[in-house]
């Protein structure tokens, strides 16, 4: 078996989620190759060759791959699987917005069904994945010659970043469908830890009342070294940006500590955080469903409780 892992990166840094994806690949077993498709991504390749367990890094460095346009990158991946290396038994990517954008396109080109967001590897052809917002766990077996899989990174502890020594192979073909072009990207700048990697996450919901009040959560988060998230209600109301949404269709997080502030706890929100190790809920409504999943619940006005919390830690 040989597994092709698609590296997640921004042409400069190899994203940490790639290490979780490699961990899933290691559980499947066999040779692991990593594809770095991008432009001017030499530093990413350097990082990828050091990942333990990876035997080869394929580098496709072309303008067409600079912004991970799926029309081009999926064609590259499918061709690597079909034409150049019929050795691949699995193609894995992290279930990020980028992985979700590209991999189903690869699966369709290979005429196989994808297995989305696996949380465990039962055997090389059988995997577990959540359905119905995590209210059920399906065990799915694939008979595809090439299994195309996205990996929910919270289900797999990352491998260490250094210690390996993979070989590098360059892939020269440029696939450019010519149907899509990149216009721009506006990325949120934050000094706080990335939500999906943070050990502690503080999230706010409709109870925050407005965007300005999130300053109370930022102050607490900075004391704790935490990332800051939000419920869909808070994002829809325009309090904060969409990249902070935690939930079934937003980001899935599983930190050591999740602090839900002014969040009622709709099942769609719980789907994004209920695998956190310890859950704290602060809400003035003692009937709020969030208390049913909380390890520690505090019925209180968040505007009193959060500043006090910040002072005490």
């Amino acid at each position: 078996m040989t597994i092709l892992v698609i590296a997640e990166h921004n042409n400069t840094l190899l994203a940490a989620v790639t290490l979780n994806t490699v961990a899933a690949a290691a559980q499947i077993g066999g040779d692991i190759h990593v594809l770095v498709a991008g432009q001017g991504a030499g530093a990413v390749t350097e990082a990828a060759v050091k990942v333990p367990g990876v035997s080869k890094v394929l580098v496709a460095d072309q303008a067409a791959y600079a912004h991970q346009l799926p029309e081009n990158v999926a064609a590259l991946i499918a061709s690597l699987v079909i034409e150049q290396h019929s050795i691949y038994t699995h193609v894995l990517a992290a279930a990020t917005s980028n992985g979700k954008n590209i991999l189903p396109r690869v699966a369709a080109q290979l005429d196989v069904d994808q297995i989305s967001e696996i949380i465990s590897v039962e055997s090389p052809d059988t995997f577990k994945r959540p359905i119905y917002a995590g209210n059920a766990i399906a065990t799915v077996q694939s008979n595809a010659v090439v299994k195309v899989i996205t990996v929910r990174t919270t289900g797999f502890d990352p491998v260490v970043a250094e210690g390996g020594a993979a070989t590098v192979e360059f892939v020269d073909t440029e696939y450019n469908a010519g149907t899509a072009s990149f216009v721009n990207e506006v990325l949120a700048k934050s000094d706080r830890p990335d939500l999906s990697a943070a050990k502690i996450v503080v999230s706010g919901g409709r109870g925050m009342q407005n965007g300005d009040n999130f300053k109370h959560l930022y102050a607490l988060a900075d004391k704790l070294g935490a990332g800051v998230g939000a419920s869909r209600a808070a994002v829809d109301a325009g309090f904060v940006a969409n990249d902070m949404q935690v939930g079934q269709t937003g980001k899935i997080v599983a930190p050591q500590l999740y602090i839900a502030v002014g969040i009622s706890g709709a099942i769609q929100h719980l789907a994004g955080m209920k695998d956190s190790k310890v859950i704290v809920a602060i809400n003035k409504d003692e009937e709020a469903p969030i208390f049913q999943v909380a390890d520690y619940g505090l019925v209180a006005d968040l505007f009193d409780a959060v500043p006090e919390f910040e002072r005490l830690v």
Binding site: P130, A138, T139, Q141, T179, V183, V186, Q256, L257, D295
Partner: protein, 249 residues
């Protein structure tokens, strides 16, 4: 230009599903069904394009059981002009659905196909991307803004780090995210009118599509339950518990 929107009949988003004891799936008997929320956003966007004079016709299509006619009638009440149901009682995988939609796209030749980014039952997030691959079209997934100018569509996409904008040649595929629009409610007169709008029923066989999947669900189980927590009386007690009991701060 013609715009197509795809809709899926799913368990209503407020329902907390129960897993069957024999591991064969979730219990859908007597459970409220509805249009997948992301598909409502897709229909709304298509109807708005018609109201702006950009789309000349809005066709809604669904793949599913005869019951899905209910969701197609809802889409017609929201403003779609006509509906197509590819009828099957089989629980199809995303690839089969994408192949069936591709067959309908070949027949109908829409310039833009709008789908929900994900169905809230299977949580796959695949069909739109697969339809784009099979059609050879460009894709704008997780859209929060869509604008059509001449032969191109500009799509603002919600991505993990923020927002990305891409420009796609038409025909193209768009999948909706939550912030694209706020779907309207169907008015009673429109619900009545929708009953008279055309609804065509096709079958996978008539479209010549094989719907086999490479995936097989071998078991469905309930997730591990969390052990019940406690209520603390004060912030001081909370901080003490987090430090000394849970040891997470």
């Amino acid at each position: 230009m013609k715009v197509m929107a795809a809709v899926k009949r799913v368990v209503d988003y407020n329902v907390k599903v129960r897993v069957r004891a024999d591991g064969s799936g979730v219990d859908l008997a007597n459970v409220k069904m509805a249009m997948n929320p992301f598909c409502e956003i897709a229909v709304e966007e298509a109807v708005r394009l018609k109201e702006q004079g950009i789309a000349s016709e809005v066709v809604v299509v669904s793949v599913g059981s005869p019951g899905a006619q209910e969701q197609l009638r809802t889409a017609l009440a929201l403003g779609a002009d006509r509906a197509i149901l590819v009828e099957t009682d089989d629980a199809l995988g995303s690839l089969a659905v994408a192949k069936l939609l591709k067959a309908v796209v070949d027949k109908e030749q829409p310039q833009l196909v709008i789908l929900g980014k994900q169905a809230i039952d299977s949580d796959n997030n695949q069909t739109g991307q697969m339809l784009a691959a099979l059609s050879g079209y460009a894709q704008g997934t997780f859209a929060s803004y869509v604008e059509i100018r001449e032969d191109k569509v500009t799509v603002a996409r919600e991505i993990d780090g923020g927002a990305q904008t891409v420009s796609l040649k038409l025909p193209a595929i768009v999948t909706t995210d939550l912030r694209l629009n706020e779907p309207r409610y169907a008015s009673l007169p429109n619900i009545m009118k929708a009953k008279k709008k055309p609804l065509e029923v096709l079958t996978p066989g008539a479209l010549g599509i094989c719907t086999d999947s490479t995936n097989k669900t071998v078991n469905v189980e309930a997730p591990a339950a969390r052990s019940p927590g406690i209520k603390v009386k004060s912030v001081a007690e909370l901080v003490e518990k987090l430090k000394n009991e849970a040891k997470v701060i």
